[in-house]
Amino acid sequence: MNTHPYLRAYLAGIFVTTLILPIILTVFIVVRLVLHLPVPIERGLIFPMALIPAGWGLWNMLWIASHERTHLAVGVHGAIFPFILLPIGATVAHCYGILSFGASSATWFQALQVPYALIVPLFCCGVAAYYLVWKYIIGSLNSVLGIA
């Protein structure tokens, strides 16, 4: 069971996102096309639908590759990932016009205004969520697949 560890790491990494993102996509399509909400969701879907699953897989591959040297727990490794995702996601969202910056708040999807004071706690929640998901789900999958 020691063959192709990076392939198994990639598959374990993309498991959560490929499971959840179709559900989120369904909700977005229902909100946009059925409920006719005037929010340009489809502009920014390239980030969560294309980049995030591959990113999770590659991040797990990086954990496998670096674990011998760093001895970093998989939860901590996952908690570092939002620090990379946030700037990329914000850049993509800004380029596609679904994120705009105002005087006191940032606006997502031309509808959701989040005050700047709330962005830091929101980011901390993201880090915490990533820590828990990577520790308990990705870590378990890595064990099941024999790479951790």
Partner: protein, 82 residues
């Protein structure tokens, strides 16, 4: 190995191993106990996982739930960056 050795080994084996009674049955019905074990395993595994989870992780989970309840408008933004 001659016939004498074979007889000797046979005797030793018969002495070491108790005779197997092919018609023997367990003293009680084992099936209900097996069913109880099958039914109890998922909950027991969950209980073991809950016991082994450190308080820090529970606190993080509670913080996430409180934040989502307090600021529900941030949930789509959070899901976008998932």
């Amino acid at each position: 190995m001659n016939a004498h050795d074979e007889d000797r080994i046979k005797q030793l084996l018969q002495r070491a191993l108790p005779p197997v009674n092919s018609g023997a049955e367990p003293s009680r019905d084992l099936w209900p106990a097996l069913l109880r074990r099958v039914d109890a395993e998922p909950s027991a595994q969950l209980a073991a996982l809950a016991r082994s989870t450190p308080w820090f992780d529970w606190a993080l989970l509670a913080g996430l739930v409180v934040f989502a309840v307090a600021f529900p408008a941030t949930i789509p933004v959070f899901l976008y960056y998932l």
